[in-house]
Each structure stands twice: as C-alpha cells, then as structure tokens.
C-alpha cells in the first residue's frame, strides 16, 4: 500500500536531515519526498509517499511526530486531497518531427518551455499516473534527461489544516 503523508515542520537548518535520517535508520521505505516553505516562512511542508501496511504507516507517522521540530503530520489516506507531481523532460527531436511531440504535449496539457535544434524541454504536472503515461509516450522519441519534484499534496477541506499553528 502507498500512502501520502504531509508534515508541517519548522523551517530550520537540519530539519530535513533529521527527518530523512530517522526514516532511513528505521528502514522505512520512502518513495518520494518534496519539501518547500509555506506561506509562513517559519514553517515548511514536507510531502512523503510511503509504502507499507497500516502498521508501518502508523509507525512512520508517530516517529515523525516525535521529532521536536515536526509540528503536525497528516495522513491523506481516505481523505479528499489533490496531488501533483511536476516534471521537466528533455526529448530528442532528431529522429521524429517536433509536431508529434507538440501534439502529445497538448493532449497532456504539458508546455514546451525550451527548444533547441536537437531537442525540446517540456514542463508537465499532474497525478503520478499521468506523468508516468507521458514518460512512456516520450520514450520512442528518445528521453535525454528528466527531473521530477516528487509528489506534493493538499487536502481539499481546509478545516483540518487550520487547527495546527
């Protein structure tokens, strides 16, 4: 089972190192981790994708909450939330026409953000399954490089967020 967890943490040096060290030393399997400052510069939000059964998830959540600089942990399982993954991908235009790529881009609501003689760079965001499908479609063209942010997520119902700080 894969779960999405969101942690509100203090925006201080070493917090990310502490959290990733704890996850590694307790042998939790983290598939992705994305971090960024919130609207309040005192806090950052970290989104994790964790795989494991309910017991593993329960431990991850509790061990995270034990870290003094972790303010709150929310488990998004069974909740109504929006999740996104952002990708930049460089695709070769050597072997096939650029228009084919452009067409697929439009279908997937991606954006060509850089063009050179031999390749294009595309920005695309969405759910992980969509990103993965797009990667598969780009393979025949020749993927030169790609980078992904890892998943970020937010609850639709903002009430749960309000009670924290």
């Amino acid at each position: 089972m894969r779960h999405v967890l969101s942690a509100l943490v203090m925006n201080q040096p070493g917090v990310l190192a502490h959290i990733s060290g704890m996850l590694a030393s307790r042998a939790f399997n983290i598939e992705s981790l994305a971090v960024g400052e919130t609207d309040n510069p005192e806090f950052s939000r970290i989104t994790f994708v964790v795989s494991g059964d309910d017991r593993v998830l329960d431990q991850v959540r509790k061990q995270l909450e034990k870290i003094v600089t972790v303010v709150k942990v929310i488990d998004y399982s069974n909740k109504d939330f929006v999740e996104r993954d952002l990708m930049l991908i460089k695709v070769s235009t050597e072997s096939r026409p650029r228009s084919e790529i452009k067409e697929l881009c439009e279908i997937f609501r991606g954006k060509i953000v850089d063009v050179s003689s031999g390749h294009v760079m595309i920005e695309i965001s969405g759910q992980e399954s969509k990103i993965n499908a797009f990667i598969e479609l780009m393979r025949p063209f020749g993927i030169l490089e790609l980078v992904r942010t890892g998943r970020i997520a937010l609850l639709r119902d903002d009430l749960a967020e309000d009670e924290n700080v």
Binding site: V9, Q59, Q63, K66
Partner: protein
C-alpha cells in the same frame, strides 16, 4: 521615577549589569537558574570559557572533572537515574564531543533525561574542517531527543551574535523542558566558542517564553471510559499479570503501582529497567522476566489471560519470539510515547498517557467488585515459584558471583543503597539476586548495554547522594573500560564501593560460546595470549594470579583495595569495604564456569528455557 527605582531595586536580577556577562556566563547562569547543582565536564580549547564561567560560580554549581568524557556522560546519567535532578555533562569540540556520543545514545535508549553541552569551533570556521571540529549535532541527531546549535542567524555575518546570546536562556529552558517531560531523553547543546566569549550589552530576559510549536508532551487526561475498560478487563480476568518497566520508574509511579498491585493481588513482573517499581522481596513479586528472568515470571506471562503492560516497550530481550509471546493474553498497554503502542506487539487496549495518571485513576476507581477472583492463579504462580526458585549451587570455597551479590544484598538491604552495574553476566546476576525495595536505586545500561557504565554512573549517584551507600557491581571486562575514573573517585572524594566480580573472562560471551559454539574461545579470555585459557585449554584453576592486578591499580589511584578468594573470608571482606568512608575496591576472584540461568536463547520462547 521614584516608584520605578523602587521597583527595580526589588528585582535585582533584572538590573544586573549585563556588560560583564559573556555567552559562557549566560549559559552557566541559565543552567543554574533551571536548577543545575552539578556538572561533569572535561575542558578543552573550545570549552575553556565555559569552565571559566563555571569556576566563577563554584559556590552555586559543583563541577566534577571526570577522567574521560564518556565517564562524565555516564556520571551525569547517574545523577538523573537516581534523583529528580537532570544530570549535566560537558566536553570540548571534536574528540571531546565524540567521546560523549555513547553516553548520549545510552541515555536515549533508556529514556534518561540528560543535558550534554559541547564546545564548538567558532561559527566562522564551522564546515572548514577546523582543528577539533566535528559536526556533533549531525552525529547525534538520531541519538538525542533534541539538539541545539547556538549560532548567529545570518551565516554571512557571524560577528552579529546579539540575538544568539539573547536566545541562550530560552534554549536552556527548552532543553530542560524537553529532557524531562513526556518520554525523557538526552538533549545536546552545541556552543561555538566565538559566542561563548562574546559579551552582551543589553538586558537579558532569564525567563523567556519557549518556542516549541512541534512539542506537545502535555499529559493527556485519561478518558474515564478507558479506565473503566481496564477495570472491566481485570474483573473478567482469571490469570492477570502486571508487566511493568522503566516508564513506571520515570513517572515516579512506583508507590501507586505498589498500592494497585497489593489491592488487586495481581502478581508483578518487572523488566530490567523496571526493577524497584515493586518491592523485590515481596511474595507477590515475580521479579524480572525475559531472557534471564525467572522461570516463574516467564511461565506466568506465557499463561496469562491479561497483561497490564505499564511503561514497557516489549523489547526483544523480554519477548523472545514476538509471535509467541503472551499469546493467550489480552494486552493493556499504557505508555507516554504513542510510538511504542503497537510498535512490536498489537495492544487490545492502547493508552497514551502518563502511567502515574492511569494508576492514580485506577486506584481511585477500583471498587471491591473489581478485585479479580484469582486464588487459583495465585496458587499456580506460587507453585511455579516453589518449583523453580532463583538459585545457585554450592561451590565450596569458591566465591560464586551469585553468592557474592546475595551476600551484598543481605548486608546492605537495611541501608539506603544504590547499585550500579556494568554489562554482562554480573549485570544479570545483580538484577536477579539483588532485591530492590525502592525505585531509582538500580542503575543499569539496559537498552544500549554499554560496558563500562557502572563505575562512572556510581560516581554521579554518589555526587547526588553524598551520604548514601553507592556500590558499583562490576565485571573485570567492564571495569577496564572506564577504569580511569578511579582518579575521579579519589580526587573528587566520592566514596564509591566497587564489588569487582573478576573471572578473567568476558563471561557473557563465554557463556554463549559454551552453549552455542562448542566452548570455542574467541578473544574472550582477558589474560596474556600465551596462557592456555586463551584457547580455552586451561585447567579451570582460579587460584593462580589474576591479570591485571586490580588491587595494585586501585591503590595506585589512591583507593583502598583488597583481593578475596575464599568464600569463608568474603562476608568479613565485604563488611570491611562497606564500612569504609573511602572509595574502595574489593577484587573478588570468581570461577568463569558459571552461567547466568535461567536463559531463553535469543528469539526463543518459554518452551526453550534453559535452567541448568
């Protein structure tokens, strides 16, 4: 104006001229204001200003110089484990700091509140591999409850330290709060030298508000329905057992636990960390459970239909094979740390709470109807106790370690005695044969299992309890690991007594070699390599000279010391040591052939228990 002046005069603290105070003064002053009475500190380049600040205040805080930073760390634990004070230790940067790491990790494993302070290289050179620089906060993240690095916020302008200086009282206040509340643990404060020597010209707020939005250890009130659930489970049970651990000691709940146990008649078994939570010589005590626990406690927990697991963590040394541990029992698990619930074993009634609050509520709500009808169970437990007592053989004139501890207990049970131990066979025998009547009298590195813990821990206890009898029961392997602290005992006038059970071997490993590796000796003999015992080919003669000569060593450090080899001479030799006003080492030569029994091999079940 006049009014304002009067007001100021009433609060001298607020008007204290701050100009003379540097960062080191502020830290030490803040510690004293939080209640610090003593500190174990070994100086060095990056912590000298702190020592200057300490020596200026020596009438308010006693600074003891250990002879190794690790010794200082364990001594600080000795203070914390035996009293309500929080032990403090300090070291310089680099090697001083890394030498503290084992003691910090040890405190984390056993939930011991402690504050460790390390000097650090000036902020400007942090990250440049400066002389004696180690990133101690990075190293210690996983083994502290929390950690601080005091720095100027702006790393481009490290000379601007005003805010850093003003933050020190808050950091110290938070460190105390975090160390002692919730599940206690060690806190590290890393303190760069440039901030230690910088002076503050502004007024300082000695009692600033804490800023810990992510730390909420406040006691949750125990919902009455959960108390009723526990009482219902007790009422229905036919074979209940109290399985109690260090959480009960930490929560200062031994008295409530004892009251509850006596009222309900439920037998009590304790983990190695829980010894002292219930009087060890009371008939209702099943004593320690687990790998080297009593047969009857392990039988009882295996048969029990209800486990009242209070302040325990279902450690592998207790449970053996998890899937088969206490399979018949419903589990009520109370712990202050929510991450312990369901971690190793699924609980039927999990409660995150201070175990003292739960026990107070249980004692209050417990009605006569709630007392379980368990006469049959009690008779069964008593029969097991009768059939498989904790015992040891008669070895003629040899002094068996079990006998030595038994005799120590007999000679000291009427005094307020504190016992610390190293790690190994002697530790388990002490746990088995010294019957602790009260909490916080037993100091053992139980979770981390650090050899060399006993002597420095005893130093800390003696400092916190100058008039009490403090005995370090040690093994010859463990003894050597912090033997330099003999100097601290002598120079700092700490009259610790050392009962050295000297069998010339690393006994616990020898025991495993004997049981599971056909007795093949692999670096477990502590004498010279040309001795036949080195290969396990000796004749077992223990009458010859031992190595090293601990008596000469102890005397060289200024301790009183004696050898004893004969059982007939032991009681008098022990009495002489216990009567001495000085630090004293009694080197007791014991046979290495003894095994700690009973024993459930690692990962085994109660069916695998070895009794002889």
């Amino acid at each position: 104006m006049a009014k304002a002046t009067t007001k100021k005069a009433e609060k001298p603290v607020k008007t204290e001229k701050q100009a003379q105070l540097n960062g080191a003064d502020i830290l030490v002053e803040a510690l004293i204001r939080q209640g610090a009475k003593s500190m174990f500190a070994y100086p060095g380049g990056a912590s000298m200003p702190l020592h200057q600040a300490l020596v200026k205040r020596r009438d308010r805080i006693r600074t003891v110089l250990p002879r190794h930073e690790q010794g200082g760390g364990f001594a600080a634990q000795g203070v914390s484990r035996s009293s309500d004070e929080i032990g403090l230790c300090m070291a310089t940067s680099g090697p001083g700091a890394t030498n503290l790491v084992t003691a910090i990790a040890d405190a984390k494993m056993d939930s011991v509140p402690m504050i460790a302070i390390t000097g650090q290289v000036p902020q400007k050179v942090i990250g440049t591999d400066a002389f004696q620089e180690t990133p101690i906060v990075e190293i210690c993240r996983a083994v502290t409850k929390h950690h601080y690095l005091i720095t100027a916020n702006d790393w481009a302008r490290t000379e601007d330290v005003t805010e850093a200086l003003k933050s020190i009282p808050r950091i110290v206040k938070e460190a105390y709060h975090i160390a002692k509340t919730g599940r206690p643990g060690p806190v590290l404060i890393d303190f760069p030298k440039n901030i230690q020597i910088a002076t503050l010209d502004e007024e300082i707020d000695w009692d600033p508000p804490m800023h810990l939005p992510g730390y909420k250890p406040e006691k949750r009130t125990v919902p009455p329905e959960q108390i009723r659930q526990i009482l219902a489970a007790i009422r229905r049970s036919k074979k209940p057992i109290l399985y109690v651990g260090g959480g009960v000691i930490n929560a200062n709940a031994a008295e409530e636990l004892t009251k509850f146990a006596l009222k309900t008649g439920i037998p009590v078994t304790m983990t190695v960390m829980g010894l002292g939570a219930f009087p060890g010589d009371h008939p209702q005590s099943l004593h320690m459970l687990g790998m080297h626990g009593t047969v009857y406690s392990n039988y009882a927990i295996n048969e029990a239909d209800l486990l009242l697991a209070f302040g325990v963590r279902f450690d592998d040394r207790v449970t053996g094979k998890l899937e088969e541990f206490a399979v018949h029992g419903k589990i009520v698990h109370v712990d202050i740390d929510p991450s312990e619930l369901h971690k190793n074993k699924e609980a039927h009634i999990p409660i995150t709470a201070d175990v003292k609050d739960v026990l107070v509520a249980l004692n209050r709500e417990l009605g006569d109807d709630d007392i379980p009808q368990i006469d049959e169970w009690k008779a069964q437990v008593a029969a097991w106790k009768e059939r498989y007592p904790l015992t040891y053989r008669d070895a003629g004139e040899w002094i068996l370690p079990q006998y030595a501890i038994d005799e120590l207990w007999k000679q000291t049970k009427d005094r307020d005695t504190y016992i610390s131990v190293g790690v190994g066979q002697h530790q388990m025998w002490a746990a088995q044969f010294y019957k602790f009547a009260k909490p916080k009298r037993w100091l053992s590195s139980s979770g981390l299992g650090t050899m060399g813990f006993g002597l420095p821990a005893a130093m800390g206890v003696q400092l916190a309890h100058p008039d009490s009898l403090v005995v370090d029961i040690d093994g010859d392997g463990s003894m050597l690991m912090n033997i330099q602290e003999f100097a601290t005992l002598h120079c700092e006038k700490l009259p610790v007594k050392i009962l050295l059970l000297n069998n010339q071997h690393l006994g616990m490993v020898v025991q495993w070699e004997d049981r599971f590796m056909e007795g093949s000796r692999a670096h477990t003999y502590l004498g010279p390599i040309d001795h036949p015992e080195w290969l396990g080919k000796g004749d077992g003669n223990i009458a010859e000279e031992t190595y090293p000569n601990f008596v000469t060593i102890a005397q060289g450090f200024g301790l009183q010391a004696k050898h004893v080899r004969k059982k007939s001479e032991f009681p008098a030799a022990l009495a002489e040591m216990l009567a001495s006003p000085e630090p004293y080492l009694l080197d007791v030569i014991t046979p290495y052939q003894e095994h700690v029994l009973p024993m459930i091999p690692g990962g085994g079940t109660v069916r695998d228990i070895i009794v002889e």
